[in-house]
Every structure is written in structure tokens, then in C-alpha cells.
Amino acid sequence: MGLAFSKVLVANRGEIAVRIIRACREMGLASVAVHSESDSGAMHVRMADQALCIGPPSASESYLSIERIVDAARRSGAEAVHPGYGFLSENAAFAEAVIAAGLVFVGPPPSAMRAMGDKAAARVAMQMAGVPVVPGFQGPPGVAPGDEELVAAAERIGYPVLIKATAGGGGRGMRVVRRAEDLAENLAAAKREALHAFGDGALLIERYIGNAHHIEFQILGDSAGNLVHLFERECSVQRRHQKIVEESPSPLLDATMRDLMGRTAVRAARSAGYSNAGTVEFVMDPATREFFFLEMNTRLQVEHPVTELVTGLDLVQWQFRIASGELLPFRQEDLVSKGHAIECRLYAEDPARGFLPSGGKLLRYSEPAGPGIRVDSGVSEGDEVDMHYDPLLAKICCHAADRDAALARMRQALRRMAVIGAVTNWQFLREVIDSPDFGEGRVHTTWIEERFAGWKPSEEAPPKGLVVAAAIALAAGMDDNRAPDDRGGRGPADDPYSPWRAGDGFRSGGPR
């Protein structure tokens, strides 16, 4: 069946833009990339059939500008817009602007985005739909509760409590408060963060569940109201509410729990009038086996490859088909999850500096490959890691018959990566995967903070063989007569073996 559109604007950057453009190619759709001035040579721009510059590096003037993106869609002749994740993907006003311009928005209806986008309103809606929510306080709909009300609510709920931004997601504006005397300071900081990140400082407060597992269900629905879940993803390996490792199936769920939670997730989505791809997130107390609705993400999720690997479905292609009006040809009972999939997120973050974002030029970058290994990335060797944007470089995914086999595959995949030039969390990922707790699936959402507090990369001396390698490889790349470069950057320009030469040649020779 042909689609209702033939040209798609991808309103994103990085690995997800590349992923979406790949799906466009496979479906015979023309792709249009948009980019900021600093991204003119980025991989998503190099891959798309057409690329338009939409503004300066600052995301608020480029990837977050509804006006500029809709204008770019018009100018390019695109008939549909895929928002990816992050940026404007959960912005109902953006979806409405796209639709008002006569274009297809590849995502849920704006009404469903609004229903789920306001975390406080979503809590109320879920309670009415019979979906369990974490005990908490959000004030009346549309009214941001004052500090006094939040303080009183915290006393009622009991410490520890979790402060969240009503408009939020991704850990921004989110804070755990364990003592009453710390509440005021954290409310102020959360409000500042929420204002910066979402332009809305409204907060809500919830009971904080210790040792919680984060388990989410992938939802897919068509415009006729057929809704299914594509099983769960366990995303409990998080650092400050940022997911690092995800897997499916969850080591915690049995068939009965999976079925119960899956049906609850579908009910949650149905109550919002949902269609297209989305994710219902639950927090689960492993002691009581209680689970609570956390939020629904009304977009494609970063960790969607995990679901694709176990179900064999291409979620991005299904997003296009659903947006085009196609109906789901399968029912819940037709769907099966096969084997085990794990994803590790490679971030340009410096573990030795509290995991702060690090930039740099990728002097060497090569990805693992082989049976059961999938890497979704938005960079290649020679690229500059831009500090303006999300530090996610690549997602390394492994699929195998069972969890142990998938873990073994991941260990080898991480060993076969090569990244030089930007500091990444790569070694940290290896230690997470190798830890006995993770091996046994006993990982909760604060495990990283507890188990890896103060973690630093090991500083052990290199094996002698590597000293030999250094002597052979680096002899050509060095020049005794020059002062050391304090930034550790550029090699001698006259040195034919310097990787800088290769890198620059790559950039200037490649498409812009």
C-alpha cells in the first residue's frame, strides 16, 4: 500500500534523525533534514536527500523553533513531518502548527499529546481511567500549586518525596528530597530548572519509591482505535533520571505481570485517545509488586530498538504507515517477543568529571558489528561532538536467544568499539554490564548512584604490548621540536600520518 505522502521533513538531529531518514529510504520516501549552523556537516545532513539550515546553533533558535521548522517544511515541499524524540516531539502546539500547514504530523493527535503532556492532568485522567498512580499532589487542573501547598503535601505524603516539573520529562526539574529542611531549596532549584527547560515552572510532588524498577510498555495504535502493546522495556539503569541501559524482556516480570501491566498500559493510552507510537512508563516496587503509572511519552522513545529487536517490527516504519491512515494488521494475541535485547547508550560525557558533557573531535571512531549487533549512531569519524546538544552519540544494541547470551554479546561489542577524541561513558558502560547485580537483574533506579558513587575510570598502567604499539604508531605522529598543544588537539600539519590530516580530508571531501 502506498503512503499518503512521499516526502518527509525530519525535525531533529543526531542518531534519531539518521534512524528516521534510514526508514524513509527503505520506504521510498524522500527525506528533508533541517539543521542549525553548527550542524551543516552533521551525519543526518549528509544522509538526507535535501537539507535546510534553520538557524543558529542555539536549539531555541533552530531545532526548537516551530515557525522555522514549519517554514522549512513548506519551502522543501515536504508533506509530512517526523519530530523524533526530544526537541518539539511532545509539543502539541508544534503538531497543531504542522497540521494547520496542511502537513501530516507523524505522531499522536495533538489532543492526546496535551492530555499526557501535562503531568498533573495526566495523573487525574489516569486515576479516572482506573490506572494506578503514585500517591502524590498536583493541585487542581491548570493551576500551579504554591510552595506552601507543596510543603503541606510533602508532610502528608511522608518523606522521601519526589519533586517533578508538571511540564517535564528527562529528569529536568526532578529532585528527590529526603528531609523536610531540604524541601524549600529543592523546590526553588527544580522550579528554575523547569523554567529553563520547559518555560513552565509548575511542580508536582509524589511519594518517592525506593529500589524502584522503571518498566515501560511500548504502545502502537492506529486511527481506528486499534491499540496494542509491544511488551516492556526495563530501564532501571539510570543516572540522575537519565537512562543508560535498557532491555527487553524485564528480568523482573513473569507472564502474568506482563499481561496485567500491558493491558493497563493499553487502557492508559486508550483513555487519552492515543494513536501512533507511544510509551507508558510505570514505576514498580519490587517488594510489593505494586506498579504505578509514571507518565506517557507521546513520541518515539530513544530505546525503541530494544522493542524492534524482540518483536521484529520496525517502529518508525509503522509510525509512517499509521500516520498515513493504514490500520494495524495484527492484534495483541498475534504479537510475540523473541529472545532478549539490550541497549547501551554511549554518551559524550566525562565520568571523571561527574559525567558532565564533553565535546571534542572524533579522531577515531569505529563501531562493533556482527550477528545480533545493531548500532544506531549519529556520528562518524572526523565529526565534532557539538556541546550545544544532547550528548548521546550512539546506541549499541545486542539481540540473542536469552539474556545471558545477549549480555555476552554486549560485552564483546563494547570491547570492539573504538572511540578516541571525545571522552565518553564507554568504560562505565562496560563496568555496569559486568557487574554481578546487573547480571542477576537486581538493578533499581538509584542503583547507579549507590553502587557507582564517586566512580572514576581505572588508571591502571597499559600492558607492555600497548607500549610497543604506542612506540610504533605514535613515532610518526609526533614532533619533538614543537610545544605541546594544551588542548590535546591538532597534530602537526606537515605530518602525513597524523589522523588530523585524514579527518580534515574527510570533512572537506564529503557532502556538505
Binding site: 558533557p357 570491547r415 568504560q427 600497548l466 610497543v468 591538532r490
Partner: protein, 181 residues
């Protein structure tokens, strides 16, 4: 050619020579048989004492990186001038530097203020996340604020100067050569 590298705090003297048609590496006085299996831009495959090693590498002016088996090692070729300057500026105590490119959101410290370790000095924001910069362990006086709220700072930019209290010693280091210390 004799070379000296420093990696992970250890120094290595290495010389690679041809002997009877084979390559021999002398590493800190111990000999190792070396065979170069393949050499491509940025990737080197060696056999050292019978074990195969695949290494990705990149070089800069003062050394380079070797990436092997999921890890990256930095190798520095010691530079006499550089090491002296590093010592002269000590550990960089006195000036607190920004750990990342960031926006200064708020400044809690004031010049002349006495602070203890852990005291909140200022708040940075990067990637929409706030980071608090606090005083290191000890007793300090805020000597000088070097940034203002609303200012964009680069990685390693000095944010403020602290002087240890009651010692009478000026904590500010010597000349600043911009080195990451």
C-alpha cells in the same frame, strides 16, 4: 630510535630495533618479539610475544592515544618545559575552574566571604541541568569573583579564587599557562 612515554603515571623507555630480520622491542630493559601484521591509517595490528593486539590510535603534538579491547590509554611524550610549568602551577588550588562549558545561573559567594568546604559558591547550567559549584574541603576566603551571573563560561575557565584561611598564604598559583591540571 629510543622513545620515552608516560602513561597512567608510569614512565616507559622503549626502543624498537631490527635483529636477524625480526623486530625486537626493548621495554624498560625487557625484550619482546614484535611482528607488524597490518598497518592502516589509525589501526595497527601487532603480534607481541605471540599475542595478537589490534589497536586503534590517534596522535597529537604531545603524544597520542591507543585504544584496545574497550579501553583508551593516553601516552604522553614528556616535554621538559611542560613538566616544569605544570609543577610551578601546582595543583591549581586557589582558582576554581568550570568543569564544562556552561551558563553561570547564580552566584552565592561574595568577595571577602569566609566559607567552609561544601559551601555553595555558584550554580552553573549546561544541557539544561544545574550543577552546584561548592568549596573544596577546608576553610577558605573568597578572594575574587571572576565571572558574573548570566555569563557563558568555557571548560576550565576560572570562576573564582579562594585563599586558604588563617594561613596567610596566597593560594593563587603562579603563572597560569592554561594547562588542564
Amino acid at each position: 630510535m629510543k622513545q620515552r612515554f608516560v602513561s597512567a603515571g608510569s614512565a616507559w623507555d622503549i626502543e624498537i630495533a631490527h635483529r636477524d630480520g625480526a623486530l625486537i622491542a626493548d621495554v624498560n630493559g625487557g625484550e619482546h618479539a614484535v611482528e607488524i601484521l597490518s598497518e592502516r591509517p589509525g589501526t595497527l595490528t601487532l603480534r607481541v610475544d605471540g599475542a595478537t593486539l589490534v589497536c586503534d590510535w590517534a596522535a597529537d603534538r604531545s603524544g597520542g592515544w591507543i585504544c584496545h579491547d574497550g579501553r583508551v590509554w593516553r601516552f604522553d611524550k614528556p616535554h621538559p618545559t611542560a613538566s616544569r610549568r605544570r609543577e610551578a602551577t601546582g595543583t591549581g588550588e586557589g582558582a576554581l575552574r568550570s568543569p564544562m562549558p556552561a551558563l553561570v545561573v547564580a552566584i552565592d559567594a561574595t568577595e571577602g566571604q569566609d566559607v567552609e568546604g561544601g559551601a555553595m559558591l555558584l550554580v552553573l547550567e549546561a544541557m539544561k541541568m544545574e550543577t552546584r559549584v561548592t568549596a573544596p574541603a577546608g576553610s577558605w576566603t573568597v578572594k575574587r569573583l571572576l565571572v558574573a551571573a548570566g555569563q557563558q563560561v568555557i571548560r576550565d575557565q576560572e570562576l573564582l579564587e579562594l585563599a586558604p584561611r588563617d594561613t596567610g598564604v596566597d593560594a593563587e598559583g603562579g603563572e597560569d599557562d592554561g594547562q588542564v591540571l
